[in-house]
Amino acid sequence: MLRFVLKRILIALPTLLIVSILVFGLQKLLPGDPVLALAGEERDPETLARLRELYRLNDPIWMQYLHWLGDVLKGDLGMSLRTNQPVLVLIAEKLPVTLQLATMSMIFAMVIGIPAGILAATRKNSWIDWICNVVALSGLSIPNFWLGIMLILLVSVNLGWLPASGYESFFVDPVRSLQTMLMPSFVLGTALAATLMRHTRSAMLGVLSSDYIRTARAKGLPGRVVVLGHAFRNAVLPVITLSALLFGELIGGAVLTEQIFTIPGFGKLTVDAVFNRDYAVVQGIVLCIAAGFLVMNLIADILYAVFNPRLRTEL
């Protein structure tokens, strides 16, 4: 098991390296001059030159990259061109926000998606199954950002029930924190809930048609015991694995939702940084998101391997 984990970590390192090269290269391709964008209306040549020097923008690209990589290995992700803050500090500030949003969306998705999936599977081809399916497909098909602005219009502007935007740390003011996160996590959670529901349903259907469930039923065990006690226990593994994968994607997937609800998390920071050509910030955050994604992948694989020892050797 340990060897398996170590091997996976060893594979993840070059992946992160490639991510960093890709992001770096991509950013350097972007038209526009970061220092000019930063200067805005105050284009003092002396200041521009000093900033170019400070951020090594006059060096060849590969030198800039190597400098950056060297700093990263020393634990320094560089400074934000825009706010003069270390990127590590920015990440430490934003990560809890994004994690809270991702966690709430995930909880939301699991609470809705998994029971709905079980229900749909046990009532296969009934109207309940049909409704669950339509709702799930709707969740998958609705554009997040559109749902977001429609909810703001309805819930905040017309009904005045929830704040339209903003963020409060859970540890400072839990109630307000939940209030502000409710709509965004609902928006993000809909598509997840739909995915989870569909997977739960198909995993459950697979298990329910297996021999030992038929045997259990034949022995006269009550339906609920069979479904929850036996079938779900076996179907839950792929669902948990999938949840871990989805969670990894969530951390980077909240871009537009954060933008619309003005949540000061990763997504908003990154989009702003791309538009402002704040290279170090984009670089640091994408690396962090990619690492998170790989960790969640690893967790999913470990879960799978633990429950499915046959796979350990194959992987």
Partner: protein, 505 residues
């Protein structure tokens, strides 16, 4: 949404219980359009930052709602006859937030910091300053390298903001992490892209005029969302709302709106001599530019795009400005005149490439312009660019026509000199006319407003004929607040001054 605690009352009750009834009574929550950059007046460059400084940092002088320069930390001032030195008398009852006294030495420290801090962005604004000396405990004399009439206006903005010398000495370039000034509010905390909190400074020299205990600035970039927050009570005051929000503000009986024409302009930069892309009929022949300008209905633009809140314009200064040249009022649209000018230039139809920022409002405005000039014979190809790209293309001269906004300055020099003089720092059109240079350079040195205005009038007359910049509109600052807020006065510089503002909820 039924599965959530859904009534506003229940949520409010929960909120109150959870937070133990905080001192909400006198907290003013202000929605900003952008998150300010580093909070150090010497290093900062954003508009949003200036709004926050208005609460935290007093300046040597301030602006009145009519853009007159009025006392703040300096009680009065006098230029020498040849305008090469400026004497400022200072208040003697001011302390910084950290207890450091404010006096002539503090002013000297601040001006030197602006001039010498490597990170300072104020150097060009104070370029005319030679030396600063204390000619009394509360009097400084500034010797100038050359006469500079715009210096006082610089002191009404960031270059005139006084930070605590003790704090600045200790923090160096990191002052922005914990800004210490002498303004009505002290800096409390900042969470990037989320909020900036300031609290009333008890020892403020004008403390009686400050009726609010605490101000929270919240950056909310989307104006619709900013308005939604104002309507739902999350904000007490929202700055820089969009003209399109006006009907919604008016429809809400609880909201009051303030519209004031800003100091800036929205214009089309014409590439007349910035690189090879200027070698087009529209870049080389002023008649073609005149035709383009004549074909635009500025009043209609203001109505369609700005709900009538923007002033149609044709000069660097808005028509209500004392610097506006009244001999050249904004012309009516004249399609026939435009066609005639084009014919004179030997052109039937002309294809023109026009770049603009990729925001919906800019795009909408340029589509209207496209339709208007099409009737006169211009086939405009619109090219939307992302902000950073457009800026780089414009400064490199890689454009024919470019749509740009300028936020404006209190002194007329700031809105015109650097754009149209040959060596101007932001001269992206490549325009260069010795006569204009002479006029604008001379205008800088004159302390007498009437004589200064004469020179600006002459320069405007030339610019309106040669049109390196086609000015279109002067946008307004639209601010709205709820019924609990009283005493708010809008200023053409878009700042939110908190003297005598009260908040009842």
């Amino acid at each position: 949404m039924k599965r959530f605690p859904s009534s506003r009352v229940a949520l409010t009750a929960l909120l109150l219980v959870a937070t133990g009834l905080p001192a909400m009574a006198n907290e003013l929550r202000i929605g900003l359009q952008d998150d300010p950059d580093v909070l150090d007046p010497d290093q900062s460059r954003t508009f949003a930052g200036r709004i926050v400084y208005t609460a935290v940092c007093d300046k040597l002088v301030d602006l009145s709602p009519d853009v007159e320069i009025i006392p703040q930390l300096a009680t009065d001032w006098e230029y020498s006859d040849d305008a090469t030195s400026l004497v400022l008398n200072l208040r003697d009852d001011v302390v910084f937030h950290d207890g450091t006294p404010f006096n002539a030495e503090a002013v000297i420290y601040n001006i030197n910091r602006s001039l010498t801090l490597p990170e300072s962005r104020r150097k060009s604004e104070l370029a005319s300053v030679d030396t600063v000396t204390a000619t009394g405990p509360y009097q400084v004399t500034i010797a100038l390298k050359s006469p500079d009439a715009s210096l006082l206006a610089q002191f009404a903005d960031r270059a005139g903001m006084m930070v605590s010398p003790a704090a600045a000495e200790e923090a160096g370039a990191d002052l922005g992490n914990n800004l210490v000034c002498s303004g009505p509010f002290t800096f409390v905390e900042r969470i990037q892209q989320d909020r900036i909190v300031v609290e009333k400074f008890a020892d403020y020299w004008n403390a009686d005029a400050i009726k609010i205990d605490r101000v929270v600035y919240l950056p909310i970039p989307d104006s619709t969302v900013r308005l939604a927050n104002l309507q739902s009570g999350e904000l007490d005051l929202a700055s820089r709302l969009a003209p399109t929000d006006i009907p919604a503000i008016r429809a809400d009986a609880d909201l009051t709106e303030h519209v004031v024409t800003g100091l800036g302009y929205g214009a089309l930069y014409m590439n007349v001599a910035n690189g090879p892309r200027s070698e087009t009929p529209i870049g080389q022949d002023k008649r073609v530019r005149q035709a383009f300008s004549k074909a635009i209905d500025r009043a209609a633009l203001s109505q369609i795009i700005y709900e009538g809140t923007a002033s149609p314009g044709n000069q660097a200064f808005p028509p209500n400005s004392p610097w506006y040249n009244k001999n050249f009022p904004v012309e009516e649209r004249d399609v026939e005149g435009a066609k005639a000018l084009l014919a004179e230039a030997g052109i039937d139809r002309l294809e023109v490439q026009l770049q603009h920022p990729n925001t919906p409002i800019m795009s909408q405005m340029m589509q209207v312009v496209q339709a208007m000039v099409a009737e006169a014979g211009f086939d405009v190809r619109l090219q939307a660019l992302e902000f950073a790209t457009q800026l780089a293309e414009q400064s490199a001269g890689n454009y024919e026509v470019s749509r740009t906004n300028w936020s404006g300055r209190a002194d007329p020099d700031g809105s015109i000199h650097q754009f149209v003089t040959c060596e101007g720092g932001i001269n992206d059109t490549g325009y260069c006319n010795e006569e204009v240079d002479n006029l604008l350079n001379a205008a800088r040195t004159l302390g007498n407003p009437a004589k200064r205005k004469e020179l600006y009038d002459q320069a405007t007359a030339i610019l309106i004929d040669e049109l390196p910049v086609i000015y279109l509109v002067h946008e307004s600052y639209i601010t709205a607040h709820d019924a609990g807020v009283t005493g708010f006065v809008p200023y053409p510089d878009g700042m939110i001054r908190l003297e005598n503002v009260t908040d009842a909820d």
